[in-house]
């Protein structure tokens, strides 16, 4: 997705990730090479992006976003893209986007299921309008036991890139007030309609 954004001419990408490249990432994280195993993901990704798209400025931050640093980290960006792997981070980004009034392109993937939605703060339904709270540990399969189809992560990431490009260019219709779901096992795309929740703890 970062690759698609840089290729489309996005001038500045700011990446946050505290992890290092592991073998089990390579089936879905296409910027990394086998030789990058053990390297910080943001450094590995930034190196590939800059090599191919020297006009794009890439800021690599090897840190995890938390309630303490998220507002400062994201302030000033035009659009936030959620490519995180956990519920805590998804709610954190949603709430920060609402506070900072910055559009957020949300996505989640697990196993064969992907979801995408775009949140325009103050205008469209946010992630907390849809889901009030993250599941407690044990309520959903852990990522290790669930896994994710590599090509699904790519499909969903490129859909997010298309959302960002539509938002930045002001063209087309965004995935606002609707959640796109893609079932990569049944080969089925569906939409459900979303509404702002008048009692939303984040955006109401």
């Amino acid at each position: 997705m970062a690759e698609a954004l840089a290729a489309a001419g996005v001038g500045r990408l700011v990446l946050f990730d505290a992890d290092v490249v592991e073998l089990s990432n390579l089936h879905r994280q296409l910027l990394h090479r086998t030789a990058d195993l053990g390297r910080a993901k943001v450094d590995s990704a930034a190196a590939k992006l800059v090599a191919r798209h020297p006009a794009t400025s890439v800021e690599a931050h090897r840190e995890r976003l938390t309630a303490v640093n998220v507002d400062m980290a994201l302030a000033g960006v035009e659009c936030i893209v959620d490519a995180t792997d956990g519920f805590e981070a998804k709610f954190l980004l949603n709430d920060a986007a609402i506070r900072l009034q910055i559009p957020l392109v949300h996505a989640g993937v697990v196993r064969f299921l992907g979801q995408v939605m775009t949140i325009i703060p103050g205008e469209s339904a946010c992630y907390r309008c849809l889901f009030g709270a993250p599941p407690a540990p044990g309520d959903v399969p852990s990522c290790q036991e669930a896994g994710v189809l590599g090509s699904l992560a790519g499909t969903i990431g490129l859909l997010q890139a298309a959302e960002v490009i539509r938002y930045l260019s002001g063209s087309g219709a965004l995935l606002t007030n609707r959640l796109l779901t893609y079932d990569a096992l049944a080969g089925r795309w569906r939409h459900v309609r979303l509404r702002r929740n008048p009692a939303c703890p984040a955006c109401a």
Binding site: L113, Q115, P141, T181, D183
Partner: protein
């Protein structure tokens, strides 16, 4: 009057892998009971101990969120499509 219920991939191990299952009931609450009798364990993944839909799961009738209809008392009829949409996150490994 069978109603088709779309099962998201994370819950399909409870439906023998089926993407869509039939259930009967005049309301979502009745449908959930029927689903549980056909696929034991499914209801507790969708509803909490008080019978309310969990906060990280949404139930839709023909694409509309039941929270904005009559919640568990939302009426359903043959031909309606009920979908279960959970919050998802993954890929840590």
């Amino acid at each position: 009057m069978p109603i088709q219920v779309r099962i998201p991939t994370p819950l399909r191990k409870l439906t023998g892998g089926a993407e869509s299952v039939s259930a009967t009931g005049a309301t979502i609450a009745a449908l959930m009971q029927d689903l549980e009798s056909r696929h034991p364990g499914l209801k507790e993944r969708i509803c909490d101990d008080n019978g309310k839909v969990r906060r990280f799961v949404n139930v839709y009738v023909n694409g509309d969120d039941i929270r904005f209809l009559d919640n568990l008392q939302t009426a359903v009829k043959e031909g309606d499509e009920v979908s279960i949409v959970p919050a998802i996150a993954g890929g840590e490994r």
